[in-house]
Assembly symmetry: C2
DNA sequence: AATTGTTAGATTGGATCCAATCGACAGGCA
DNA sequence: TGCCTGTCGATTGGATCCAATCTAACAATT
């Protein structure tokens, strides 16, 4: 873990106002990207060393991550990167299936040609991309582009947070997810261009359901295979 | 603020494992209940004195509240209790309108007679209650009773969090909200008893829309009256 | 052999201390 | 008069220090 984290620390050091912000953002990125595996205990002293700060900003950052459900805190036993269970995945899908259509409904009327062009471009990039991690990020940006004009900052932030968590789940359990659902992506974008809210929401729901069932099937086969 | 907060501090002191937990829970309760008004700056030294701890647990708690969007943090200027604007209220309604039906859908199949009886009892208590703060809490417990069997802990926690925030908005802007929508509450409960998911969700939506429009109209009249 | 009590080390929770930054106010200058 | 600038008090950000608690290994007893 230290190795992968160190790179992140170096690259993103000097664009934060406080050490706590720096640690929080970098650590979150590391957890979401999988650079730190689920279940890893986060030793404060160790983190302080790799970030080259004292334990205090580490502790504040860990508290924020706890509130975002990215780490578990146990008194006197420290923080651990949250595990990924089937329940977590289903929980996350239920939340996204609620939030994303809502964001989309509010956003569609305010989407501009610029937004559509950006989304189009992201789809093209996804087609060419092979690295799964990078594909996940492009996928996230495509979706968020369509939600971004909702004009409700908290709704958007929550949506982005849970989309990122979904990415993390995928990365760990379906590392070689070949199909991002590009057909559905294109139909979704087309519906948005037509300002057809109902068709867009329906397409998004199909998108979610397909992904959820794939994840569910994966867990079933895995647990069925070993238990 | 200190006066109202001091009572909370006294009453709820010794049932927490760490000081940070104690501060976080108490402070959140104080913000949500309105004991600390929106816009109030939260001086760390002052809070440390009223809680009789050092500044460190205060800071950790404030970070958690920041992640829950209950306080704003500005580097070197400290934490402030978030304001309540029309945008915040609409944002919150959009989130609840997304999350609560989802929670209800998952919960209805698993609700038991005990749950229905509890909900019924809460409705009766609401009828007799006159204190607006207490009414808000009963309302919250009624709704959460119906969502509680969803079996998705994160979805439930998010829902509760935003329901509590909605309560806070109401308390500040519609202090004398006489009508909690008991008719809709009863219809909602009835639909749940019948396991009629679609009717329950439709009723809940009406409930949300009515409340959202009341809040919206309030802001319109207030800002129209003064601006 | 298994279970329980004990003790040492590691690690966290909390307190205290110092440095950096912000805001207000006073005084100089055009 | 109005604006800029520099200093000072207040307050936060971060570091270091101490106390409380947990874990694990080992010893003693049954």
């Amino acid at each position: 873990m230290t190795a992968a984290l160190s790179e992140l620390v170096q690259s993103a050091a000097p664009r934060f106002r406080t050490a706590t912000e720096f640690v929080e953002a970098t650590l979150r990125e590391a957890i979401l990207s999988g650079a730190i595996a689920p279940g890893t205990p986060l030793r404060q002293e160790e983190l302080a060393a790799t970030f080259k700060v004292s334990r205090m900003p580490i502790r504040e950052a860990l508290r924020q991550l706890e509130a975002q459900a990215l780490v578990d805190f146990e008194p006197h036993r420290g923080a651990v990167v949250v595990q990924i269970t089937l329940l977590d995945a289903m929980d996350n899908y239920a939340i996204r299936a609620a939030l994303e259509p809502q964001a989309l409904r509010h956003s569609i009327p305010h989407l501009s040609e610029t937004d559509f062009d950006l989304a189009e471009e992201l789809l093209a990039e996804i087609d060419q991309e092979t690295d799964p991690g990078r594909m996940g990020e492009l996928n996230r940006r495509f979706h968020m582009t369509l939600y971004a004009q909702a004009g409700l900052p908290r709704l958007i932030a929550l949506t982005e947070q849970h989309l990122a968590t979904a990415d993390r789940h995928l990365r760990f359990h379906l590392a070689a997810v070949g199909d991002m659902g590009q057909d559905e992506h294109r139909e979704l974008l087309s519906a948005c261009r037509d300002r057809d809210v109902e068709r867009a929401v329906a397409t998004l729901s199909r998108h979610h359901n397909r992904a959820r069932e794939a994840m569910s099937a994966y867990f079933a086969s895995r647990d069925g295979g070993k238990a």
